[in-house]
């Protein structure tokens, strides 16, 4: 009923709800802050991990995931709160765009909203808060770019930077004790790409068994397949034909064809014709004179035998990705027709050695000395699949950051240095701005400062004291100071070698402020009636 006493007609559908004004805002703040608080404890080198348990009958204990990766945690969560969904969305985008900083972006957006809530309670209009945030964001971004440094891509300094960045990224993960080892490994893998950003060339193979330390970088290419029985297990100076063709039987592709015969003889004849067609195909393949034949699809016994008889090593059922990688690494063309043997030089791939190797208990095929030397394989070992999965995610993060750095080249100091610098810039700006926006700019600075604070808290240190000391140190003009998370003091990031990629920080800052603004602007939430689902 409205104030006058009229009964308001129902406008929306039955189960739909509508929240307005304060209620709507409260709902978004609560949701977004809850999500941010959830991933907050994973931030920084001393952050903790989460166990993710799938719901659904029968699989409670089987497929659990242990992770520290913000995007993975948020992606697997089922939330209903719309504002929380926005935070999850930006974390996903961060993952796709730069691969790291997925926790930071969600936490920063959450902290911004926490500060925003306080301002709203002080009766500052959301639009004024947004206006202030926009000023603050630009100032912060400018400072961030100003403090970043750039090194020549071929210099030793750049190489050192890369190692440091990888170490910083990995230090918050499970493999923090072996971070030097893995940092080196990741940098080597990325440098092999020679500036290309195609992560496909770096293959990660996970094999349970051994310890994390037993992981290694293999400069060859490893295919998780087996060589067909009866073929040579070691081929030197291999000529490889990579194919994607049916080697079981050729379907007739002309529409509406049916085989109709009237006697047993005819059946035999057609069978012979079929066989002959296959032999014909094999003959054509042989004309290319390969020594190794890799096919994506399965190969029936008959053609397999024909090929093996001719001394060709056959690898069947290579998956799609694997095949593309083989082709890329060995410089082969993926063939589906075999009518141009004169092009054999162009289409065949080369590598010095193909051999079957044993890693743990599994047999695999290793291609060494490939024509295009960009591909490489990281073999991960570890005590359980959960550990391996987490290591895989960590390495993936590190590789993404490294590739981004190679592209962007600019780096900033880690250990909360960049956030503190940005916060300082915002506070300076706040002193110059007239009007209520200044409160919002100060709030932005506080939110930025929360990131190092949380890192301290997670490490069990006295954050209030550390952050204040940090501020003073920066004020003194010590540009390279940052959090030393080993001793719980303020240290020199240059000496500790803690660096981060500018692009990651930029993206986190922009995405978080955009998302916070988006949520802040909402004054009305309409939830439609949920679609009825029939239970199967």
């Amino acid at each position: 009923m409205d104030i006058v006493g009229n009964v308001l007609p129902q406008v929306l559908k039955d189960e739909a709800t509508e929240d307005k004004g304060e209620m709507a805002r409260l709902q978004s703040f609560v949701g977004a802050i809850a999500v941010a608080d959830l991933v907050k404890t994973t931030l920084g080198p001393k952050g903790m991990d989460k166990i993710l348990k799938p719901t659904g009958p029968g699989q409670e204990m089987t497929h659990i995931t242990v992770t520290n990766d913000g995007a993975t945690i948020l992606k697997s969560m089922y939330v209903e709160n719309p504002a929380a969904k926005i935070l999850i969305e930006i974390s996903k985008t961060q993952d796709e765009e730069v691969g790291d900083g997925t926790t930071t972006v969600a936490v920063l957006a959450g902290e911004l909203l926490r500060e925003g809530e306080k301002l709203i309670q002080k009766r500052i209009h959301p639009q004024h808060v947004i206006a202030g945030w926009r000023i603050a964001r630009d100032v912060a971004l400018k400072r961030l770019r100003d403090i970043s440094t750039e090194n020549d891509i071929n210099s030793q300094e750049f190489h050192d930077d890369l190692v440091k960045i990888a170490r910083t990224t990995l230090s918050s993960k499970l493999i923090t004790t072996d971070r030097d080892y893995f940092a080196d490994l990741c940098v080597k893998a990325v440098l092999r790409l020679k500036g290309s950003s195609n992560l496909d060339y770096i293959q990660i193979i996970k094999l349970p068994g051994g310890t994390i330390r037993d992981s290694y970088l293999d400069d060859g290419f490893i295919l998780k397949k087996q060589i067909t029985i009866g073929c040579k297990r070691r081929i030197e100076n291999a000529k490889i034909l990579v194919a994607n063709t049916a080697m079981d039987y050729d379907k007739i592709k002309i529409y509406g064809t049916k085989v109709k015969v009237n006697s047993m003889d005819k059946v035999a004849e057609i069978e012979a014709a079929e066989k002959e067609k296959m032999k014909h195909k094999v003959d054509k393949i042989l004309k290319y004179q390969p020594t190794v034949f890799v096919n994506r699809q399965l190969i029936y016994n008959y053609p397999e035998q024909l090929l093996a008889d001719s001394g060709i090593t056959v690898i069947e059922h290579a998956d799609f990705e694997g095949m593309e990688r083989v082709a890329a690494a060995t410089g082969a063309e993926i063939l589906s027709t075999f009518d141009a043997p004169e092009r054999s030089q162009q289409v065949l791939g080369h590598c010095d050695l193909i051999e079957e190797i044993m890693i743990g208990e599994e047999k695999m095929i290793k291609f060494t000395g490939c024509k295009k030397n960009e591909a490489c394989t990281i073999v991960l070992r570890g005590a359980s699949t959960h550990i391996l999965d987490e290591v895989d995610r960590s390495i993936h993060d590190a590789l993404c950051v490294l590739i981004t750095t190679v592209k962007n080249k600019r780096v900033v100091w880690g250990g909360g240095n960049s956030e503190m610098q940005m916060a300082a810039a915002c506070e300076e700006e706040a002193k110059k701005v007239q009007g209520k926006q200044a409160f919002a700019i100060e709030a932005f600075a506080r939110a930025l400062r929360q990131i190092p604070t949380i890192i301290c808290d997670n490490g069990g240190y006295d954050s209030a004291e550390l952050i204040q000391n940090f501020k003073v140190e920066l004020q003194k003009g010590n540009q390279t100071c940052g959090l030393n998370m080993i001793d719980g003091t303020i240290g020199n990031m240059n000496e500790l070698g803690v660096k981060e990629c500018l692009r990651v920080k930029e993206q986190a800052l922009m995405a978080a402020s955009e998302a916070a603004e988006l949520i802040m602007r909402v004054d009305n939430i309409v939830k439609c009636a949920p679609r009825k689902r029939e239970r199967a």
Partner: protein, 535 residues
Amino acid sequence: MSLAFDDYGRPYIILRDQGQKKRMKGLEAYKSNILAAKAVANTLSSSLGPKGMDKMLVSPDGDVSVTNDGATIVEKMEIQHPTAKLLVELSQSQDAEIGDGTTGVVVLAGKLLEQALTLLDKGIHPLKISDGFDRACDVAIKHLETISEEIDIQANEHEALIQAACTALGSKVVSKRKRELGKIAVTAVLDVADLARRDVNLDLIKIQTKTGGSVEDTRLISGILIDKDMSHPQMPKEVNDAKICLLTCPFEPPKPKTKHNINISSAEDYKKLYQQEQQYFIDMVNLVKASGANIALCQWGFDDEANHLLLQNELPAVRWVSGTDVELIAMATGARIIPRFQEITPEKLGKAGCVKEVQFGTSNERMLVIENCQCTKAVTILIRGGSQMIVDEAKRSIHDAICVIRNLIKDNRIVYGGGSAELACAIQVLQYADEVSSVEQYAIRSFADALEGIPCCLADNCGLNPITSVAQAKSRQLKENNPRIGIDCMELGTTDMKEQRIYETLSSKKQQIQLATQVVKMILKIDDVIAPDDY
């Protein structure tokens, strides 16, 4: 349900299943309808203007969208009430016709209905009210035309167009970058506009979204961006001086529409068929190759064999290109869409300076860009942003801006925003009301009040005192005879909208007032609602 009884006290059954229906008549029906429509208008009213707020909408499947666009809000609210649905349609028809002002039209309709409610309470017949509204509407429209100004869209590097786009973008989440985005929109529209005919085909502007980066990274590509990549990973990633063959037939043996059977009864047939099949593929590729094409875009798929043959013949190809993209490419490159292989001729090929693959982010997402098309009459706006919701909202905002610019090219008359035009009309309508001697006078006066509701609402959303600021603006308009005085939403220190350069198209304003009046008239004519009880 009211019942009629016969002489014996038995109820008449008039409607089928009368017991299961509910019915509202007379004043009760009017009021219920008006309240429902008002509820929708109230939801939208806080989104009006540069400082309007957004709405968060959760779809039945749990997807979230955040938007400021009136048409989108009412569409996604899934409104059930029949009268309220009329407002949804109202907003959508404004969107279809003009593209902008979708919030304003609903808010105006809400204000009119509010006024109608008080008039009904006074005991004025609904038809009299609607007649009065109609007459007032005519006066307002006429006055709008007299206060409108023609602007020179060419002057000062299309500054006027950019300003109009900025006005449209000002209320959206992307408002921080309104100047940049406005420029992008203006350039895009001018690239494809036919200035001689004063027409713009908006199909030629493709808006592609991609999450990642920030709204600042949004850019205009003078060409077409399609979300596809080359069919074979080893095909060249860049084709210069492309001659494009646009196919709408698959690289497959023909499939006649009539059902038929080919029966194979001997090994000889079998072999023959096999050869013929091979020949088909070779012929197809040769036909394309012979025409001189160096890239083939196909609406359908093709199998591994055809794919490899294409690679072998150094003919890069793209498969599963969507139908709209095919048409766009045809228009841009001057290519003819070829439905059969036999009909490929060199004249039918489209030409473009460059076709290349571009990559985004770390997750290996690739897209194709067709640049420097023969007839550069197609552009793509690539929108970036931190999350899907932002990108979607930016897309809607840019669409609005593009529509505004198109309307200006069609008709370069503008009125000033900030509620000034509504206020000027209100003053005019009020004057006219005094000349009318019948009952309609009250309705006409109420129409003027409703028009004043728009600046009121604007001021309210901007945190100004609505009554004071509207009163001030009104008295200044009368005193200075200046129809450009409005509400200073952005707190720039002047209420003259000409100085603030808040441009709105005349066509949009006219349409808003007309459409809102029409819908209100329609709602006022309903005096009986019969609906199933459980509805």
